[in-house]
């Protein structure tokens, strides 16, 4: 397939030729660089005894690599050039409104064909799966941004695509489903009655709004049942975070051209791919140059994995059939209240983000959804861009940083990731404007109950017991 980039040569040079690998700059992160297999009793083996990898070797090698930079296949980069580099903008009107000495910049990933950063890894993964001979990709999607991106990437590479979409988002964001279907994908609301994982979740709670871990479990089961069909995930895995570093590398070059460097870098965290995509290349610069930049991960109070979770081995899916990873987690059976930022309802943070949080290399903050939407609307009024509810979390944190700068009376350069637009999320804004929106923080009881169901840890103790 040929592509015809339309950018100028100068603009194209901003788009990196390599992904940046943060593992090369981290110490004592062995747990983040390995996956731990499911316990033997829980492994579903094919009847004929045959065995095949779940992900392409190339992506697995990327996940473990300590090389600082990994080449982007030219074919993938050519696809990137259809919309990259994405704009780096200064929010001057917002600055004026806040009367702050801070300079606020944002990297706008909403100009991607599917409206968010997710396409950066979707295209790379579809490329590698196609090379491996896969014919269908399946996945779970929260808000639908990942499903939209994967369905387009699958279409580009001639792959079939089945998306299990979390029920609450399926109902709240019908046009996301339409976008996936336009790309030829089959979209199934999750939990569904078509898989054992879905039926188990429905048996536990017939009224459940679903969760990404349930959707992932259904997609995993779907992939296991079919030949040449594989599960592709859009957040959390090391290779996913790697692919997203095009965002930060571009932003670094765009800020360099303005002779700026951020004092604080901010991104919303579901599992961590948009945060990492922006933050990691700046972390590399921080290490290289000794600057004092801070990195702030923003999460919803409804799924506060970093601020209220525990650092433990846990599964990535509801039924515990995917490999365990070491992560900040609320427990794989945690079902977040049905907030509008569906992409942030996931129970755990990426292993790399978790390791960096554990080592205090990054910070985290949690917000209730009404304050997030208040900031989203202010941003839309001032900058004329409607943020996705997920991205509005980063806006909220950026606004608060700018207000702090005003109180302290000092200049500060703030950079945040506006990871997607909210034009397919207007029902969420309508809900806020109508005054019907409520804040739905996770309760202590909810978190304790799901942490009690964590798998046994290395020392044989339950993680919940250790965290108390």
């Amino acid at each position: 397939m040929t592509t015809q980039p339309t950018n100028s040569a100068a603009s194209e040079r901003i788009v990196p030729t390599h992904w940046y690998n943060v593992l090369s700059d981290l110490k004592d992160v062995e747990d983040a660089a390995r996956l731990r297999r499911a316990r033997p009793a829980e492994v579903t083996r094919p009847a004929d005894g045959g065995i095949a990898p779940q992900i392409p070797l190339t992506m697995y090698r990327q996940s473990l690599s300590r090389q600082p930079f990994i080449e982007i296949p030219d074919e993938v980069r050519q696809h990137y050039l259809r919309w990259r580099p994405t704009p780096l903008k200064r929010a001057r009107n917002l600055e004026r409104l806040l009367d702050t000495p801070a300079r606020i910049y944002f990297k706008y990933e909403g100009t991607s064909p599917t409206g968010s950063h997710k396409l950066n890894t979707a295209l790379a993964q579809a490329y590698y799966y196609k090379q491996a001979g896969v014919e269908e990709l399946t996945t779970g999607t929260g808000a639908g941004q990942w499903g939209s991106a994967l369905s387009l990437a699958a279409r580009v590479y001639g792959l079939r695509c089945t998306v299990y979409m979390v029920r609450v988002s399926y109902d709240q964001k019908p046009y996301r489903r339409v976008m996936m279907e336009m790309n030829g994908a089959k979209v199934v609301p999750s939990p569904s009655t078509g898989t054992a994982a879905g039926r188990a979740a429905l048996a536990r709670d017939p009224e459940t709004s679903g969760s990404l871990s349930i959707a992932n479990a259904e997609a995993f089961e779907h992939a296991t049942a079919l030949d040449r069909c594989n599960l592709s995930v859009g957040s959390g895995e090391n290779h996913v975070l790697l692919h997203q570093t095009v965002i930060g590398q571009e932003a670094l070059r765009q800020l360099e051209a303005l002779d700026e460097f951020p004092d604080v870098v901010i991104g919303a965290v579901g599992a961590g791919s948009n945060f990492s995509g922006l933050a990691f290349p700046f972390f590399h610069e921080k290490i290289r140059t000794g600057r004092a930049t801070r990195f702030v991960a923003v999460e919803p109070e409804a799924a506060p994995k970093l601020t209220r979770g525990t650092y433990a081995w846990d599964y990535n899916d509801f039924t515990g059939v995917t490999p365990m990873t070491k992560m900040y987690t609320l427990g794989h059976t945690f079902v977040s209240p049905g907030i509008h930022a569906g992409g942030l309802r996931y129970h755990g943070a990426a292993p790399l983000v978790s390791a960096m949080y554990e080592q205090k290399l990054i910070e985290a903050v949690a917000y209730p959804q009404q304050r997030v939407f208040e900031a989203g609307i202010t941003f839309a009024e001032q900058e004329w861009i409607t943020p996705a509810p997920e991205s509005a979390h980063a806006v909220r944190a950026a606004v608060d940083e700018a207000l702090r700068a005003r109180e302290e009376g000092r200049e500060k350069v703030i950079l945040f990731n506006l990871s997607g637009h909210g034009l397919l999320d207007l029902s969420a804004y309508e809900h806020y404007l109508s005054g019907r929106m409520t804040d739905m923080a996770a309760t202590e009881e909810q978190i304790r109950a799901s942490l009690d169901r964590l798998p046994p840890q290395d020392d044989g103790q339950s993680a919940a017991a250790r965290s108390r």
Binding site: R45, I51, A52, P53, Q54, P56, L57
Partner: protein, 84 residues
């Protein structure tokens, strides 16, 4: 090859006690889709080859011999390509 299996999987046996026709998913070896990746990457490093995704992904490896053949074919292929 069997030594790599023993090391990566932490098996309580010795390489000479692993049969060529033994199933990779057997109780004694216990490979799954994830540890298969670990073993292959270790074998690649050991034999200085890179096995293409297309070769391994849907090979449906069943026995120790299947795995040995996969690596041997790649060693031979890369040897021919480099003219050695």
């Amino acid at each position: 090859m069997k030594q790599v299996l023993v090391v990566v999987k932490g098996l309580a046996t010795t390489p000479d006690k692993i049969g060529d026709d033994q199933l990779l998913t057997s109780q004694e070896i216990g490979l799954d889709s994830l540890s298969l990746l670990e073993v292959i990457v270790r074998l690649e490093s050991e034999f200085e080859v890179l096995i293409p995704d297309s070769e391994v992904f849907h090979a449906q490896l069943q026995t120790v011999e299947d795995l040995t053949e996969l690596v041997a074919q790649q060693v031979e292929h890369e040897g021919m390509e480099s003219g050695t």
